[in-house]
Symmetry: D2
């Protein structure tokens, strides 16, 4: 089972992530990891801090000099340039509605209501992206590919159809500053964001993650905490801002009849195929060999420049929440983080199923499995 641990704060010296359970023998492509970290940082509508943070991970554990994994915990460190420039966490008695300021300070009995945000901050998701990128690289060894898209920002929706052409539209999306593959929608969304910036407001949005090539048989129905749909839902819903999660046509499914919703089996050219993928690649809490399709909905970030009605808890009087340097829109970054987390869950259940301490061991057991299940399913 993969495990991921972190320490460090948004306004502290640096952040550290430790990823445990990656087998030995995986060559880490650091350029790929760095490109993913940059993708997170970028994005139209992000705040100023993203301009000067370098976000270049320093790997200090779990790798040989040639960047091959050793089976040891993979340790990485990301400096906070903000701290080095003298930036420190601020004090406040005024909670920002929607943030962890209020709930976290009750829990831990803090006087400084901004302390919880030091750990609840989106800043820490840089570590998720690094860990997720390692998982994506691991999965690539087994021809699993990960795609992610923004599907709406504020009121604007982008009609992304899940289809065979996903690879092509993904390439367009990641070269867009809002993770949207179609120029006409990109423009519309940037207009929406510009409007929000002018109004000193923030915007929510939604996104889509697709994994192609995931083998059938991951997850389990024997315990509810081993079902892969539950594991994915947890991994996504615990990302700051995300408030709803959907597998396949999850929401629509509630309005369907059984005879219409469930994905039929067919035989075509001597192969068994499915007629649709409303289930999003998961049946009975187990992957079924079809594409994994996950959708998610994120609220607007709670730091709003124009302020939101709040209360000064020290002076016990009504005020507007104060502004802290922040983003206007984070849904492109959220989409990448969701992709990171889903890849983490898939890699983790993959390792549970196939065992092995060296990547070659896993390839052996993976290939034996694929061969022994041919009567059901051919990859």
């Amino acid at each position: 089972m993969l495990k991921f641990h972190t320490a460090g704060e948004s306004h502290g010296m640096y952040l550290v992530g430790i990823l445990e359970g990656i087998p030995a023998g995986l060559k880490l492509n650091l350029d790929y990891i760095n490109s993913m970290v940059l993708l997170r940082k970028r994005g139209y509508g992000r705040g100023k801090r993203m301009n000067f943070e370098e976000d270049k991970p320093e790997f200090f554990g779990g790798l040989t000099r040639d960047n091959i994994t050793t089976g040891a915990p993979i340790g990485f460190r990301v400096r906070n340039i903000d701290w080095e420039k003298g930036g420190r966490g601020k004090f406040s008695s005024i909670p920002r509605p929607g943030h962890s300021d209020f709930s976290g300070s009750i829990k831990y009995d803090f006087e400084n209501l901004y302390l919880p945000a030091e750990r609840a901050s989106g800043r820490l998701t840089v570590l998720d992206v690094i860990a997720g990128s390692i998982c994506i690289l691991f999965l690539k060894e087994f021809e699993v590919e990960t795609y992610f898209f923004v599907t709406s920002v504020g009121g604007v929706s982008i009609p992304i159809e899940h289809s065979d052409g996903v690879d092509a539209i993904f390439k367009k999306a990641i070269s867009s500053s809002v993770l949207v593959p179609f120029p006409e929608f990109e423009e519309k969304i940037m207009g929406e964001i510009n409007h929000a910036i002018k109004e000193k407001d923030s915007l929510g949005g939604s996104g889509l993650v697709i994994l192609k090539g995931v083998p059938a048989g991951l997850g389990d129905y024997n315990r509810w905490d081993k079902r892969i749909d539950g594991l994915i839902a947890q991994a996504i819903m615990s990302i700051p801002s995300v408030k709803a999660v959907e597998i396949g046509e999850g929401i629509e499914s509630s309005r369907f009849k059984g005879s219409e919703f469930h994905d039929p089996f067919f035989i075509r050219g001597g192969k068994i195929l499915r007629g649709s993928n409303n289930a999003g690649g998961i049946e009975g809490g187990i992957t079924n060999g079809e594409d994994i399709i996950v959708k998610f909905y994120a609220k607007p970030i709670p730091t709003v420049r124009r302020g939101v009605p709040s209360v000064n808890f020290k002076e016990f009087k009504e005020v507007k929440s104060s502004y802290v340097r922040s983003d206007t829109v984070v849904i492109p970054a959220v989409s990448l983080i969701v992709a990171s987390r889903v890849s983490f869950v898939i890699a983790s259940t993959f390792l549970d199923k196939f065992g092995g301490d060296h990547i070659k061991d896993i390839k052996d057991s993976f290939n034996s499995y694929i061969n022994s299940r041919r009567r059901f399913w051919q990859r």
Copy 2:
């Protein structure tokens, strides 16, 4: 931390559940537990098996003769009358689309594609309801109340507003055979179900769970696997049929502006109050003292009397999936199961926070906490 384990199959001798972590000194009201189990069994549109299964749990561990918990694992057993009547699991080479038949048989290399359903079956959720009822009884000791509703069946939606009157409408809902508090909608839904029965089809639906009185401070932002929104999402998404989960106004949140969405603080009559509860009682992965609001969406069950296009894997030819005695609609039962699972998560994080091996210990630490946090929040 609460733990829940099960063994037994849908067509086996009996089912056993073990609930670990409930403290000593809790008097279990067995009548309440039995009433919840009956509520699950009942419900318009359920299949014939529900008519003869007794579903009366036998508690064999963790209780004194007076039904007071001892801190030991609480063990309970539910007989399968079906088995006692000679019913046994059937053999099939034809997977039902939407069920665990295909994915589970690949995973475990089964010849009998109906074997996975023995454990993936909704039959086992009777154990969830028993465990959940114990959690609800535990939470009642701290004045936490749990409510659940059906909000749609097939195409029919029921306009349930979350409000102070939830207690009254809940009483009406649980006396309805479709868990719907309003007679006019009850009738409409039963019409929809009758139509589906006639068409030999099944229907999906959606529901709502509300917990009132949950203290602020449960869950944690310090690790993603401790955030209470993630734990709730996992617990719900891993219920058979559920395909989407939403906290508060989760889906709508993606279309909102920050200045509109986030729940403002006010001072009224010397108390700090929130102006809305779009967050559904959770901010930063921690409860904030407002009602917990969770919504969920369930697909129609995959056993469809009229059949769905499938393939006979042994004979390698196209057929219709065969019918197994089943329900037409399960959303009322699903709503109860979601309530059980959410109560489990709340009770579990509650016990993590307040510790204690006897219910009196927990009351002591709970009261100390409530008193020490008065400057923030008064229950």
Copy 3:
């Protein structure tokens, strides 16, 4: 990872065990399991309850009709004939020194100081033996064999040398009523036990467990909670009565010089061999392919017929601890339970390493591993 859960009390209706994580496709030899359960019950110096308890497990989950595992949790139930005969737990205000009476009643705030013993009782170890027997059967599929011996009772030691002839002396031991392979020592020990019975006292003892054929590479040095020596120590030290655990020549090792203690490598007949096995088959928290050798030391059981100075906590006066029907010597049973637990740990780490949901999958990955590591080690 294997998981084992239990519910039920020593004087309750019945006991239930749930073993999770055994793969599908393992044919369970129920005769073997029953023979192990009988071996536990038997043993010179055991109390009267063992005469009428049947201890025949009823398997109610996780098996097909042909007793082949399905990958589902394996559930088994053992009736308490004592309960059926009307035996119930007694009330006492006088703690037995050495038992859980005092410490457990403080923890859970019990008035009845005998309540903790309901779960801390050796009675529950019948479940451990069943779970352990399944693990032993699983390991036999990979040619791992488990042996166990009594090495001392009270003051009498039995000189059991670990050698190639272990299989032969084990056969003798399990036909002995004190698990001792040599008739002259058997007699001596029975004399010691008879003396203790006459004196209304109880006796401690020690034992030895050996596993042959365990592959190199189980466990891990990368986290302390994954080291196999730690896992074994926990599994044994948490058996009622055990107070010390030793791996290989653990105690003697502290008096050794490095040049003498560590097991040298040699080349003989084109194979690399070790000159000794002082390490007990574990180096760096990982199995090294040599026999696993574990020793343990158990205190005399705390229920002593002649009584031990104690205090009546209700009346607050000095008394002798009261007698409850019990055994005089349990070290033969303890040895079997240690063997069960060590097999559980080995099977668990084995499954972690080789993955797989069906026994054939595991054999495939196991064989690939053995082949790929030939340059180091030949089984």
Copy 4:
């Protein structure tokens, strides 16, 4: 529950530890932590690397500027001066018997047999000492004190009696370079070590850890993996070099009669007392309010200057194991590490029992508990 994670290698850039679960509001005395780290480094018979490693932890997470914990994971970093000086891990095809070289390289399929030692190395125990020191500081808030001693080195034993004077002899021990409180034995031991240095050999030893003031009621008999004796045994046996663990008079217990071994209850001066502490403070897997007494036995370290017979796996010929800069004796450091680990286990079960997110919350629930159990036990 406390969790402890690490990353980094013996010859890597630096080491990082993350300690999770320490509540908010604990003022960390960094001088104390540093003194413990120095104590580990020191010790007669340690190797040369200890001379230049600074071992000064840099805390980068989980603390306010005033070194007060925030409930967030506590992150700390220790530089490897060796790396900064150009020291790197070496390559070898010759395994050191007793080390992880052989078993670890089989597991992970390494060509370089020295790679496992990068993580299995005693170097990493500096992180254990830091984490353990934080646990000791936490326990001091509840008047729990931790003591540790060397009780033998090679063939020389030190007669340390467990008694009320433990505080005084501990002060002497920690000012000794071999952690021995009596000058005459100190001298004898240093002679033994000098002899071993001259002979280019290494020595084993044994030690004793005592915790005073641990409340009754920690641990649990309800699951074997919650028994505190098992948790302690695991925590100690997984320390490099340790090969045997004993609770109280664990080994002797096997030769005792029940009437002699078990610690009687008496009434003296209106208080209930125990006549002895053979149980080492644990009955039924739960602390009983007496001192926790743990003994352990460590093998000589496997890096032996004079070499041990081994095999060059590449050239397939018999050789002597090669020497790597190392220590002659580590039992003083091991004793400190055992104390760190036992404190970790006690603090972890303490937090499980008393819950709470701020140190004041824990004090409240702790005091309520102590008061409510007065009829049993007075601290």
